[in-house]
């Protein structure tokens, strides 16, 4: 390939990602250090490159960490970070507990079933996220299907509140993110060499013993990938908590959204977003570390 073509092939997607992915984050960081202002755009200072070095100096001298101080000191924000992390952690765990047996069952199903089973899981993932969450409103609301059934059966006298609770949030999150846990685990299990499992059975391990000592450790890459794919996006989830959740359990996705759209405090929204990214660096680095170790062994 000629050098020119080579640089074009790298250059086009590279510049797209730099411009529309990396640079935006640099701007977010800049604005997170600014102050809110009654102006357009609603923050100050604004970098004025035309004034040359003096303009740049003036810009940097006006930046401070006030917003971060506010986010870290105000209890509301701290609680929402904790709530979000808890939400992510519990959802990931539930997805793993539910998803692993399903992935395992698909991997051990007869060959002719597999494509159809994968298709069945895939299909739910393709269906609109919003619609799948809406389906739970139909089921869980006070006049919802579940309350109607329970009333008809005489189990309850008055509708019980299921919608707008933490329980509903978890239900919706597990429902929405379960396919993301199933796919990578299935992919790892599918590639496993059965002879290792059989060898451990021949050596006297029970079914469960072989599973715990052989299959489970060997499927770790899939488990890690699944947990990563669920944990990171759920931490900033906005749609599920705002449609199904309890408004007295603030989560960071909703707080950021409200600061931005309702309060119009852009610098504060930017610093909430920077802190969320910092929190997410931990699982990302952990994942990279485990993946590299897996690749080495």
């Amino acid at each position: 390939m000629s050098a020119q073509r080579r640089w074009m092939l790298i250059g086009v997607p590279y510049s797209w990602l730099l411009l529309f992915f990396l640079i935006p984050f640099v701007i977010v960081m800049g604005i997170s250090l600014s102050d809110p202002a009654i102006a357009i755009p609603p923050y100050a200072p604004v970098l004025d490159v035309q004034q040359g070095l003096a303009g740049i100096w003036q810009y940097f001298s006006q930046l401070d960490f006030e917003n971060f101080q506010m986010v870290l000191e105000d209890e509301v924000y701290f609680t929402s970070y904790l709530n979000s992390l808890k939400m992510s952690f519990v959802t990931t765990l539930l997805c793993l507990l539910l998803g692993y047996p399903i992935a395992y069952a698909i991997a051990s199903a007869p060959g002719s079933w597999k494509p159809n089973l994968i298709m069945a899981i895939n299909l739910t993932f393709w269906c609109s996220f919003l619609i799948r969450i809406y389906a739970w409103i139909v089921l869980l609301s006070n006049q919802g299907v579940i309350n109607q059934i329970l009333l008809a059966l005489g189990v309850i006298d008055t509708p019980i509140r299921i919608l707008n609770t933490d329980f509903a949030t978890y239900l919706g999150l597990v429902y929405a993110y379960l396919p993301l846990m199933i796919f990578p685990i299935y992919a790892t299990l599918e590639k496993l060499d059965n002879s290792v499992y059989e060898a451990s059975r021949d050596l006297g391990c029970s079914h469960i013993g072989s599973f715990v000592r052989v299959t489970l450790p060997l499927s770790r890459p899939g488990i890690l990938a699944g947990c990563f794919l669920v944990f990171v996006p759920v931490t900033g989830e906005y749609i599920v908590p705002s449609l199904l959740g309890n408004s007295s359990t603030p989560v960071i996705g909703r707080v950021l959204w409200n600061e931005f759209f309702s309060n119009g405090d852009w610098p504060l929204a930017a610093s909430i977003s920077v802190l969320l990214m910092l929190v997410l660096v931990v699982p990302i680095v952990l994942y990279q570390f485990f993946q590299n170790r897996n690749a080495e062994s």
Binding site: R6, L9, I10, V12, P13, L17, L18, F20, F21, L22, I23, P24, I27, V28, P41, P101, I102, A105, S108, P110, L117, A120, N122, L123, T124, W126, C127, S128, L130, I131, R132, Y134, A135, W136, I137, V138, S141, Q143, G144, V145, Y175, L189, E190, L192, N194, Y197, L229, V232, P233, G236, Y238, I239, W257, F260, W266, A270, S273, L276, L280, I284
Partner: protein, 270 residues
């Protein structure tokens, strides 16, 4: 892995599939419910479908959403294939790890973060927000999903086929279009469809990057369902579910047929 399906496995599958499909099924059934009270069953009718078609406020957003999805998924497919080519063919260049990182991060980063970041970029650049900015935003995350699917297929692709085409006198671009592209086409099609579906469905990034006058279908639906159940939305959901199912099943059948044909071709040449 080739073990037998145990009773535990069958239970897990049945429970899992029931959990995933029952809510959707209930939604579809209730879309044919005549009752004004959304969840009280009266008798089956197409009343809410009629109401949906007569309600003009859904048509504009639906058309906008389709146009955005079409343009952004075409762009995302082209850029995604380029990413895959770089990832699989160019093992060494400066800034490769940054490049790989930037193609993976949008897959997992919460949408509120990427949406906010893009909006602040557009404002800093002084771009008027609307149709174009939403397309750019959708393309940016969709292209990364495309590259995941296409890279997986390209890793299996035998580079010798492309080299053979080069030996037979093809230029690198010709060789790509005549040898590589046909081989990875099933993956490209499913990647394109996924990009299309992702764009069709996106709410958070769209809300951040859109401007006055541009409302998409998910934005319209979200503002309706925030206040509870709406029978018209049941009908709309059912139509969308049928559409997506049809597209997904067709694409999977096409992929299967293409794979089969390729195998036959390989068997014939061997």
């Amino acid at each position: 892995m080739n073990r037998n399906l145990t009773w535990f496995g069958i239970t897990a599958l049945t429970f899992g599939l029931a959990f995933m499909y029952l809510p959707i099924l209930v939604l579809v059934i209730y879309s044919f419910n005549d009752s004004e009270m959304v969840t009280l069953w009266s008798h089956p009718s197409l009343r809410w479908y009629q109401a949906l078609f007569n309600n003009g406020t859904y048509w504009g957003p639906a058309w906008t959403t389709l146009r955005i999805a079409l343009v952004s998924s075409v762009l995302a497919t082209i850029l995604g294939i380029m990413i895959s080519l770089v990832v699989t063919r160019m093992r060494k260049f400066r800034g490769r790890s940054l490049f790989i990182g930037m193609t993976i991060a949008p897959l997992v980063l919460p949408e509120v973060i990427t949406g906010l970041a893009l909006l602040l970029l557009f404002i800093a650049m002084g771009v008027e927000r609307g149709f174009l900015t939403v397309i750019i935003a959708h393309t940016t995350f969709s292209m990364c999903f495309v590259s995941v699917i296409v890279t997986a297929r390209m890793a299996e692709f035998d580079i010798a086929t492309e080299e053979a085409a080069r030996d037979l006198g093809c230029g690198p671009v010709m060789a790509f279009f005549h040898a590589t592209l046909p081989a990875i086409l099933p993956a490209v099609i499913s990647a394109f469809l996924l990009a299309f579906a992702l764009s069709l469905d996106n709410l958070v990034v769209t809300t951040f990057t859109t401007g006055p006058g541009i409302t998409t279908l998910p934005m319209r639906v979200f503002s309706e369902i925030r206040t509870g159940v709406k029978p018209e939305i049941n009908a709309l959901s059912t139509l969308l579910i049928v559409l997506v199912t049809a597209v997904a099943v067709t694409s999977s059948l096409m992929t299967k047929r293409a794979a089969k044909r390729q195998q036959q071709l390989l068997a014939a040449t061997a």
